[in-house]
């Protein structure tokens, strides 16, 4: 049993570190983990709210960019600003970075740029969602195997 736990913990550690190294997560995610005590689902709950926010805001952006007439870039920009804020608050580094670029395209009213960013943001949040799901699953497996989820030191 211990060997299995140890292996799962190693896997978990490596996986988590890789998410940071790939720039998918940043230290705000570490901060969220600090706020969670053992047994609570705080991180999962916040991320769940974040992903709901992504769906809603990306929907707004898509609708605003889908105008047959003139596009109101300030409406797109407002949703991008909100997404930038919430991605920053959860440590979703890549999503946040894309929002910065996206915001610039909104400010310069660059339609193609906006459409590209919209596609990328959509892919990126879904990627994050999948990877975090894998990470949470590993945590569950560790606990089910009788072990404790290790604190992963990023630095």
């Amino acid at each position: 049993m211990d060997a299995i736990v140890a292996q799962l913990q190693r896997q978990y550690r490596d996986y988590t570190i890789s998410l940071y190294q790939q720039g998918i997560l940043d230290d705000q995610f570490t901060e969220l983990k600090k706020m969670q005590d053992d047994g609570s689902d705080f991180v999962a709950e916040v991320l769940s709210l974040f992903f709901e926010d992504c769906v809603r805001l990306i929907g707004n952006m898509a609708r605003a960019l889908d105008q047959t007439g003139t596009v109101d870039f300030s409406i797109v920009g407002a949703s991008v600003h909100q997404l930038k804020g919430s991605s920053s608050s959860v440590g979703a580094k890549r999503v946040k970075g894309l929002c910065v670029t996206f915001k610039e395209f909104c400010d310069t009213q660059n339609y193609e740029g906006c459409v590209r960013c919209l596609q990328q943001v959509d892919i990126e949040y879904k990627t994050l969602k999948t990877k975090l799901q894998d990470m949470f699953n590993l945590e569950k497996q560790i606990v089910q195997a009788g072990g404790k989820v290790p604190q992963v030191d990023i630095n």
Partner: protein, 208 residues
């Protein structure tokens, strides 16, 4: 005393004034549901009671400042600190700050502004209007701990000044050793609050 008074410490006639860490009731205002969840958690971890609202208008409603009576008279809803996002649709955090400072009932409540944008004129404008502090998002646990410490040490100051007890000198010694304010207490006490905020903003600009 008026509703919304920051804190009342009962000073027994002949007794000691021991400052145990009181539970602050914080009103957190943010239009982002993610940020509300995070700030609520940060405040709860720091042993604060938290009420979150999604807009400046709701915040005013909660405080009873929107014209309706009712809520403002309930004692257990007394708010010790307001933490608000700056960029919100409708009433911005700055607008909310102004309304609170214009109100005789609530102007003593410390207001902290949060923003994802590090814009110095914005920060200065808020501090000038009477904001206690300005936090850059994303907010971290260390930020909340610092704010709580600041608020508690300010309240200890006020209680010290309000005290009419004969044991005043003894009490001052107790409070000075237990509060861990980063400012020089003796100078802070005598400086009007607007000047104190100005010197805080100077400290802050060097940190940014």
């Amino acid at each position: 005393m008026a509703v919304g008074e920051v804190m009342r410490m009962e000073v027994p006639a002949g007794g000691d004034l021991t400052v145990t860490s009181p539970e602050l009731h914080v009103l957190a205002v943010d239009d982002s549901i993610v940020d509300r969840k995070v700030i609520e958690r940060l405040l709860r971890i720091s042993s604060c009671k938290v009420t979150t609202v999604e807009s400046g208008a709701r915040a005013l409603q909660y405080l009873g400042l929107d014209g309706d009576k009712g809520v403002s008279n309930l004692k257990d809803l007394k708010v010790n600190l307001i933490v608000t996002d700056y960029s919100m649709p409708g009433l911005t955090g700055y607008d909310l700050l102004k309304k609170i400072k214009e109100s005789s009932a609530f102007r003593e409540i410390p207001v902290v502004i949060m923003s994802s944008e590090n814009i110095l004129p914005r920060i200065e404008q808020c501090l000038k209007e009477g904001a206690e502090d300005f936090l850059l998002k994303p907010v971290k646990l260390a930020d909340v701990k610092r704010i709580k410490q600041l608020i508690l040490s300010n309240e200890a100051e006020e209680c010290k000044n309000l005290s009419h007890s004969n044991k005043r000198k003894l009490e001052e010694e107790d409070i000075d050793s237990s509060s861990s304010s980063s400012h020089d207490d003796s100078s802070v006490k005598d400086i009007p609050s607007s000047k104190r905020i100005k010197s805080e903003s100077e400290n802050r600009s060097s940190l940014l």
